[in-house]
Symmetry: C2
Subunit: 383 residues, 2 copies
């Protein structure tokens, strides 16, 4: 689990969330808890208020300095506020009083119902934009290793897809694997299992061929076909640490035509261009524009049609960490990159009729450029 | 995907969330979208505001009646409010103005940052307690079938664990499977793969033996041992629909002693008792007390110790649906059960030194009692 910075605790952050879906909560306490719980920081220490069910596990396994009993706080709050039933609001109110905390920092995604009740109860709160811990953007050495692990697991998934596609047979505009029609679902399943065996949870890997791939977040379904571009995007979460991997390759089983080759080479060159531009103190939008310029120069236009968009209509990349999509962004309003940020670089082109192509790797920003977290080949035409 | 009730739309619900982690958003639009987006209801119709990346997929696959373009709304909001940059707040403000919506209903877990900005911008909001769609508690026929599917997948996982334990060999206080020491991690992996192959995502199945099992949410790690109770709790999410399964069995490889047998039989009898009490118009706390009474009668005490709690210190069950834990609860403050609610029934006892036991099944509440969603045997001593 990550070696968090101590700067976390110069303020008094307040959280009420589970730590399986809420990355801030996981970052703060380094322990998986499936139900929402209160945690807060005060004078350099991390506190959690935990119910009987989780108490001893959290006390043992987490990074919280002090684990308080939810049931005890509940009883004390009942007495103090003379109520027969109290909830999270009264417990936080009691904590604010006992620890003399005038104002808690909460994240944008703190639950609104609770925030409004706290305001009503005169508990001071201050809403931050984005994450509660902006330092999550800059990765420690440990965190970079966890992200490398994530990408290694992505690569297991992609390699498995490649293996199956290589072994598949082409018969009359269909692909067969072990004498059955090869489908997106079959490959998704194979990828997920490969990732699992390597220690990662790959929910919803994308295996989308032909026009399906032109909706960049379409997971893909039904039979895969020869001679069409197939986007394979694998983003597993490492089970032990909660950090993600994210990698995309576009394959084609059979023989590509010239238009497909031009498309793939434009995307790969756009990715190379973006990677060549990335370094500390360059802005995210500069990287995005560089990637986009390659497409414009080669005549690939982006436009809205009746059925949606075609061309290049997503960002060039995003931060990767305990969230699959986190700050910073490599997009039109992308902010300044800093040393040890970790971002995906994943330009793509999508034209119904011709198909879609996206190529994605993850890099660590350095002062002089960037380093790939993992190298994986770019061979895409599979005979 | 579920056949939602039309009662959803007598109000104007407002959501800003992704639909992979937010069950309300998935319930409302019936489409998986990994990033947060705006959706709302108005005069019997469901609306979503979707960016270019997801536009055509959501328009095609979702249950939204109208899919609006995020980029177009952004441009219009810029003009209307004469700003060079606008965000979600201004877009919602524009929607409220255009559709003449005086007050949106938002859920407790709506993001606080956005809620406070909306209040500041004079957009009317009304925070509901709990889910935005309380009708999620009552399951339709489709939803019950999706939950049955989830439980079928749980059972695949449990059966796999049982198979491996049956095939394992006992040598000197250790278990061996295929000539390797059998660990919690190995079984967790096997379970997850079995669930995957059946179409479900089983994140963090619990395989906890001995004293580890006494922390009910400890996932378990390291070598499993003969003659100790091993809790196996499997709660996969069905990939296609987002509905969960949830099932627990406690196994023992080798030979149980009398104390272990008494413990397991108390838990099973407590579960039977709870199931016999469940029906529409009975309160959740009545069920919980019935389960607990069996333990009290047999002398199993619940108490807090220095290292946490022992005895029975969690609720008897919880609603199951698009969230793994949802309303209603079978606990001390559990509310009235209604026809076609679906709840887990999972009493447990935990005593360090002796071990932990939990047995869990899922039932559908009827007017006269309840029906098991899936039947799976209770043999637990595996020679």
């Amino acid at each position: 689990m990550p070696t968090n910075k101590t700067t976390v605790l110069t303020r008094s952050p307040l959280l009420y969330a589970d730590s399986e879906s809420n990355a801030d909560q996981l970052y703060f306490g380094d322990v998986f808890v499936p139900d929402p719980f209160i945690s807060f920081g005060h004078k350099g220490k991390r506190y959690a208020v935990i119910n009987a069910l989780e108490f001893s596990r959290v006390a043992k396994e987490s990074k919280f300095d002090v684990v308080l009993s939810y049931e005890e706080y509940k009883d004390r709050a009942k007495k103090k506020y003379r109520k027969s039933e109290v909830g999270v609001v009264e417990i936080i109110r009691l904590i604010a009083a006992e620890f003399k905390i005038k104002k808690f920092d909460i994240a944008e995604n703190f639950p609104a119902g609770l925030a409004l009740k706290l305001i009503k109860a005169n508990v001071g709160i201050n809403v931050l934009d984005g994450s509660l811990f902006s330092e999550r953007e800059i990765k420690t050495e440990d965190e970079i290793n966890f992200l490398k692990e994530g990408n290694k697991i992505s690569a297991f998934g992609i390699r498995k897809a490649e293996e199956v596609l290589r072994a598949a047979k082409i018969k009359k505009n269909k692909l067969y694997y072990q004498n059955k029609i090869l489908t997106s679902e079959f490959l998704q399943n194979k990828i997920s299992i490969a990732c699992f065996e390597a220690g990662g949870l790959a929910s919803n890997p994308i295996v989308a061929g032909g026009d399906q791939a032109c909706d960049p977040h379409c997971f893909g379904s039904g039979p895969l076909r020869p001679n069409e571009l197939i986007i394979v995007d694998v983003f597993p979460r490492v089970l032990k640490t909660g950090y993600f991997g994210d990698m995309t390759r576009t394959f084609l089983k059979g023989k590509a035509n010239d238009a497909q080759r031009r498309l793939v080479s434009a995307v790969r060159d756009s990715q190379k261009k973006a990677i060549s531009v990335i370094k500390a103190r360059v802005k995210g939008d500069t990287v995005h524009k560089a990637a986009n310029d390659v497409f414009t120069q080669r005549g690939y236009k982006t436009q809205k049609t009746e059925n949606g968009y075609k061309g290049f209509f997503h960002s060039t990349g995003h931060g990767l960490g305990l969230d699959i999509h986190e700050s910073p962004r490599l997009s039109l309003n992308g902010s300044m990159l800093k040393k040890n940020m970790v971002v995906t670089v994943e330009p793509g082109l999508y034209y119904p009729g011709l198909g879609g192509c996206r190529i994605e790797d993850v890099v660590q920003v350095t002062n002089t450029g960037c380093e790939m977290l993992l190298k994986f080949h770019y061979k895409w035409e599979l005979p």
